[in-house]
Symmetry: D2
Subunit: 281 residues, 4 copies
């Protein structure tokens, strides 16, 4: 399916600064960039690099002292997803797990799974399959955590989200990841563009490693799972922030659009799909 991405970011700069952006659609076997452009209102040296394991494409911009800068990113992206039937999924075998995935079992800055081991196992430990566990996790989060813009900040971890029961997409994702890891299910942060997300913005959800595939889950239920354009995956938002700012540079505003370029989009929402699930990898 083809999607059209349109991003405008505005920053104010007080002194020479460096900006690292993770806003490019990722290039993967399942996600092709048909065309893309990256421009700014100032002539800048733009350096692109991809992480060793391909989790993100970053650009680094050295920005001289100036008043304001507007950055635009436009792309046409084609993505494919695989529909997985998770009716009978075998348990994760730690002794056969790809070593590169262990990372996603360990606690991280915003996902302190070590602190919620008992809590999580009391709540979900009795559920039989890994898939059913993650389904139960996303349902629990959806029912208990209230979505409210501005309710959290850049220091909010899954622990606060759990106890205060309010947050934004980033917090919903962190809590989902934390619960998964506490159950010994590898889980990672997923950032991207989401078709039909209202209001349009960057989005975050998570992937759990089930039966050898990364399956996507979104406890916010704010966008269909089959309209996601992946920007990055990582341990949590510490790895995968849209922008990392060094120097005296401040984020001002953004406009984001993600449109479907076909005729007939049939939204896939996990909670309506039983044991069918979506993998982008």
């Amino acid at each position: 399916m083809k999607f059209k991405i349109d991003v405008e970011l505005n920053y104010q700069i007080e002194a020479d600064s460096t900006l690292i952006l993770n806003i490019h659609a990722l290039k993967t076997a399942k996600q092709k960039i048909i065309s893309e452009s990256f421009e700014s209102t100032l002539p800048l040296h733009v350096e692109e690099f991809t992480s060793l394991q391909g989790e993100h494409r970053s650009v680094r911009l050295a920005i001289p002292k100036t008043k304001n800068i507007t950055i635009t990113y436009k792309a046409e992206v084609e993505n494919y997803y695989v529909l997985k039937d998770c009716t009978h999924v075998p348990e994760l075998k730690i002794d056969q797990l790809n070593p590169e995935i262990f990372l996603y079992l360990y606690p991280s800055r915003y996902c302190p799974s070590d602190k919620l081991y008992n809590f999580t196992n009391n709540l979900f430990g009795h559920i039989v399959s890994d898939f059913s566990k993650v389904i139960a996790i996303t349902e629990w989060i959806y029912k208990n955590i209230k979505y409210r813009g501005g309710a959290s900040n850049s220091q909010t971890s899954a622990l606060e989200t759990l106890t205060e029961q309010v947050g934004v997409c980033r917090d919903f994702a962190h809590l989902g990841i934390t619960f998964c890891r506490a159950l010994t299910i590898p889980a990672r942060y997923f950032t991207g563009y989401a078709y039909q997300l209202k209001p349009q913005d960057f989005h975050a959800c998570f992937e759990a490693f089930i039966n050898g595939s990364w399956i996507i889950f979104d406890a916010t239920r704010l966008a269909p799972l089959n309209g996601m354009i992946k920007i990055a995956s990582g341990r949590d938002a510490a790895d995968s922030a849209f922008g990392n700012l060094f120097g005296e540079i401040n984020y001002k505003s953004s406009k984001i659009a993600c449109d479907f370029m076909g005729d007939n989009f049939i939204p896939f929402h996990q909670h309506q799909q039983g044991n069918q699930a979506i993998s982008y990898s």
Copy 2:
């Protein structure tokens, strides 16, 4: 009912120190001290004082540098409790609440109810009466929190007890109080001697203010509610510690015994009693 209390406390002292003990059985309209003695292996100046609102009787001991000291407290205490039928209890009316009780609605060191407002209301807010809410709270704690000696320390608040789901009687009480306050039910910490507690030790549980009375609850279910001898009540363990040590004095060990002096003790356990409840005040 009459109970016999026998306490022995051992401390090691490295330098001149001051010890404040809250181990005396409280004198209330419902609890009479038939006899008591307080002794130590050293001749000490013992000063007793009762707090303004009668929440505790403390003794202060100025202890010179010495090697070890053993303190013994023996008492025969008669207590009376009132059985309350909580089938139909009206809601708390804040505009008629005795002002001295407001204190027990506010967050305290170990009971940060402000941090768990949403969590608690999501879990228990739908339950109709205050009594049923507290019954549900004690049941939830009993089922979810594991009792394990040494699992917590003097810094553990109800927040950690909730997320780590393990603790001792003090932690069970703090979590119960925190949940109550988050539901606008006044609640306070209760320390005392508990008949049939195994192993014998100081005990802690909590009281909630329901329909004009302080009703006792114990989420540990470790001792019958009608065999409690009250030492103190307070906001939480910061108010009501058994011992406060100033100087170079260390707690070494203790022996505690609480025996029934009658023939026929019929234990009252809340979870077996429906809407019957016990008040000591």
Copy 3:
């Protein structure tokens, strides 16, 4: 010295609510109310009560569902303070301390002194007298914590203020209290009206118990210490909030004025006064 207080508070009410206000100037041996009035735009049943130990005068208002309510409090207050020379102050003797003051040695919701025992003693433990310790504490806070409106919220404890190093008057007071208690110096929260505070608002600072008197300290340095009209003292802001709201009532705005009614006000700022200090009790 005489001061004139003028307060206007605006609330929005969605349903029958109860409001408890701690905005009345306290009546003490050192603070006399010459005249005062308390009015609202609705006829309300106003109930006043004073806490047992006289730490605050509260009013309770039962407010029917209405759109908006404006409450005004006006007072003329005469206060006296004692100038104390703290050049040679003996150490606190725990074994002679008035039992009612012990409360202010223990940790509380916003002042978890137990968690900062080592930190505080490393920083200030070597300083010789209690007065010099508290002077060093207020200076450290003034130099390290940045005052910034909106930087904290109702959950912020002294621990966050210490690590994030930003806050408002309430946070400065909580951190000061916490440091004092960790050094075994009794300390309590002080709220009041402050002459020459800019912008005019309710103010908070703290009192430390030194050589038998409660000495006032203000690490914000935002107002002279001799222009304070006391509203309440307490363990921390959990005890002494200006307003406690029950029901569907929201704070909208306030206007506060505190004016001097004499000719010649000579401001007293602790950091310019050497060993002279002010006590209001």
Copy 4:
């Protein structure tokens, strides 16, 4: 320089389990394995893998239900270090930093540098060069944090170490890393064997990225910096634990020895070396 490593680890196993060990000396351009052996008291399938960026060599062991297992690792390792003169080091240029190093600027589970940004910059921000900053950091930690075995646990982050001012080598390292990152100096966790460490054990310290090299620092001062055999580097202990246990397997005990195989070891302690520093990479 040549060192001889001798490790014995004992585990108790209650059910089929998986053990991941990070105890092998790393193979790098500066560290050569002359010989090594890895054995266990049970015949096990041992799988070795190295992370993509070479931060650690792990072995994975599938252990059947048995009573006890003893694992031994012996190695002779030759390591080289480079002495760096840090008298004049230019500041880190974010716009020229190798992208793979950005990871070490971001907060992680045990190193929440985002929470200590103000604290750290207030304390060290005024110091001119990156090297001098890290020297000041290690000195501050050495002077303020007390080393005490058992004072922390697997949940302790740098935030608690800072406020409680007590910990073990792991905590000292986490705090050093956190301070560095809050100053925009990349820093990573270093685990290894340390010659002359008393008592002999696994050791942890940290590396900061200064002038293009990873420089080693150890705020514990418990072992010379030139007697370190590297096992792993990572963001923090979540990445680089010696053992990750899955299933019903418990750590029982260990014996560790690290001996020098030459004649003349001249210990290098940073605090005695002025601007000379050691890099192992």
